[in-house]
Subunit: 126 residues, 2 copies
DNA sequence: AAAAGACAACTACAAACGTAGTGATCCCCA
DNA sequence: TGGGGATCACTACGTTTGTAGTTGTCTTTT
C-alpha cells in the first residue's frame, strides 16, 4: 500500500462507496452515489480518474471487458492520514486537546462513555 | 459573532496568530509568522484581505493611522465548525467512532487518560 | 440496420487556494 | 529635500476542486 494520498471532499465520497463495496464500474458507482450526491455520471468519472491518478484507486477489467475500480489504499490508512492532518491543523498536533474538544462537544450515551473509558485504559497497557 | 466562515489552511495560521495576540498590523504579523511559515509580506496581506472578506477578521486603525487586524469570530467557534465538518466527512458525523479512532491512535500518558476519563464522566451529568 | 445507451477519453470552466509581484503613497531621516 | 522604507490597493498565475459537457466508439435492442 502506497502512502495515503490527499483525498478531497467529493473524492472521499467516492472512496467510501468503494471501500464499502468494490470493485464497481463507473455507472454502478453513479447509481450507488445518486441518493446522496446527485452527480452526473461524468462527475463521478472525473473523480475516479483523479483518484486513479493520485494512486488512491486501481482499475481492473471485469468479465464484460469494462473497467472496474477498487481501492489501492486502505481506508484505515486514509483515515489516519486525514486525522493526523486535522489534528495538526487545528490542535497543533496534540491528541489530548482534540479528545477533550470532542469529548466535551458531543453528547454521548452512558454506554458509549463506558466503552470509551475502557478503550482509554487499554491504550495504556499496550 | 457571525457564523464561523470557511478558513483555509494558510489562513488558519494567520488566524491562530491573531487569536494568540491581537490586534496586529500586517507587518507585525509577517514577523510573527516568519519563523513558521516563511511568507512574503504580500502573502500575509493577501490572506488578511481574504479573511476580512470572509468576515473572519475585522480591521481597526491604530494610533499611527495604520491598519490593524483582529478576529471577528471566536476561535472556539471555528474549531467547533472545523471539527464538525471533519467529523462529518470522515466519520459520517458520529462522535463515538471519531473518539475511538483518536483514543486508539494516540499515545497518551496515564495522566491524560485520567483527565479524559473524568471529562467523559462529566459530559454525562450535564 | 438504425436508434439508443454504455463507456471512454478529452475538454471546460469558475471558485478557492497558495504564493507572490507592481505601482502608488506617505512619512521620516540624513 | 530627495531617497528609502512602510502601507495599501491591485493584479497575477499556477494548482486543486467541484461539477460537468462533447465526441467518438461499441454494443445491445427493437
Amino acid at each position: 500500500m502506497p502512502p495515503a494520498p490527499d483525498i478531497s471532499d467529493s473524492e472521499w465520497s467516492v472512496m467510501e462507496a468503494l471501500w464499502e463495496s468494490s470493485p464497481q464500474t463507473a455507472s454502478e458507482l453513479t447509481k450507488t452515489l445518486r441518493p446522496t450526491m446527485n452527480w452526473a455520471e461524468n462527475t463521478v468519472r472525473t473523480l475516479l480518474m483523479r483518484l486513479v491518478d493520485k494512486g488512491a484507486l486501481k482499475t481492473a477489467e471485469n468479465a464484460s471487458g469494462t473497467r472496474t475500480f477498487l481501492p489501492a489504499v486502505k481506508r484505515e490508512a486514509c483515515v489516519r492520514a486525514e486525522g493526523e492532518s486535522f489534528m495538526q491543523r487545528i490542535f497543533g498536533g496534540a491528541a489530548k486537546p482534540l479528545l477533550v474538544h470532542f469529548a466535551q462537544n458531543s453528547k454521548l450515551t452512558a454506554e458509549e462513555v463506558k466503552e470509551l473509558k475502557k478503550l482509554l485504559d487499554q491504550s495504556l497497557n499496550s
